[in-house]
Amino acid sequence: MNTWIKVLIIVAAVSIMIVGGSYAYFKYLTKTRLLISTTTSLWETGLLNATEQAFEAKYPIDLGFLPVGTGQAIQQAQGGNVDALLVHSPTNETQFLQGGDGACRKIIAYNFFTIVGPRSDPAAINGSSVTSALKKIVDYGRSHTERIWASRGDGSGTHTKEKILWAMAGYNYTQISVESWYASAGSSMSATLNMANEFGAYTISDTGTYLKLSKDGTISLLAFITETKDLLNVYSVIAVNQTRHPNVNFTNAITFIRFLISDECQQLIDDYGKNESGQSLFHSAVQLLKQNSTSQIVQWIKDYAFINGTECPPEYRDTRYPDLYN
């Protein structure tokens, strides 16, 4: 046989052995894998890490989180590259479900965004409502030379929230985002907080990341406004629709969702970070919604994060798992 052909055969064989070997090891000798795309801000808090450990202690499933921006996370889910989606952007989630790519949405936790800023509070927003605080910041910004607002500017859930708030306060986002006092980080929550810290500017942040960095001593910003309806932040999990994306690990996604809404996990969510930060970074939502109490927070969640009056419209539920929605 021609030597070249022999060489080609050997080379191809060894390559296949290495590639195939690592692939086989990965797919068959390790446990089943479940891939969840999520947002960087949620990942940054470390909650998902804790959840993963608790989950893997109970189930022989290898959990993997892909922390990208909200937009990216949804895209991955739409492409069927991941098995489930864990984000905090109800408007985007609605679009996602309406696009037919998702199934079995469950709201699992909530916390509040907070408007933080320099200790000196130059725009004197302390105690104001969200809308008036924003107005004060804009006025301050337009009458001074320094940058007084930092934004994530990256299309994340936090950024989307910020845009909604600007609209509520009556501002044209495209217009103000290019004014001299408005600084866009185009990056993660920690990066944005660091930038705000540097500039002595205000910004909107999720409590989790803010508390973590604050405790660390990385930043010295103060939280001025929080726990209002406008700043509600709701986290939901959605499985990727198996009918449309037959290759996803749907059954295990449901197992994961079940785990998330279980008492054990909900307790974990409530407890997370309490020791270090002195307060909860997240609040469990499942029990609250189940009880359907008339408390203010439930009302806020319903207004903000429900779709057509429910956390998951029936057309997006999987009839095989009615127990998810009692």
Partner: protein, 230 residues
Amino acid sequence: MGIWEGLIKALQLIFSGDPRIIEITLRSLFVSGSATIIATLWGIPIALILGLKNFRGKFLVKTLSNSLIGIPTVALGFFLFLIFSREKGPLGFLGLLYTPTAIIIGEAILVLPIVVSFATTAIEAVDPEIANLARTLGASESQASFAILREAIDGILLAGIASFNRAIGELGVAVFVGGFIAGVTELLTTGIKLEIDSNNIDVAIALAIILFTVVFGINLALNLIQRRRK
């Protein structure tokens, strides 16, 4: 935590043999190492052809190979992501996306031009009469080619080391086809990004130190070999 604190904690992590750090390091070494081996396996025969034979279009092939050396890793990474995408990609059915295997394949493709270019140069630097010498001593055609290869071994070694260097330090391919899923596809490079995002500055610094040490070691080996040749 500040950089100093992070640095101290990073050193503690490294010297205490923190399992997470070890896992990430081993995975990086395995992935980039496998990629280098595969690229070398495929690259040497190609280099032999380019270095020894003349054919129409040879000039173009060589130029192509040389220009592919500098391909931006994000471009290649994104391209492969599209190919491996579970549903829309032509190779999606293999289910390779976000696995270490995909990174191996991607990095192998990335460094193949490096192997080909370095090895071709090394082979061309060998006196072609060596083949005749081997033949007159009784070698067959393939043995004669192998004799040339053996004379070029230093250059080929350099090719392998340079490839490993590029593979282990690259980010674009690993990010796009591997994701940076903690515990699964996290490598030294993607790990640095991930850990910074998670605000684990100590882990990020630890990974950076290790990555730098590995690359430094590689370059040390490179220079030692070059010295030996003289």
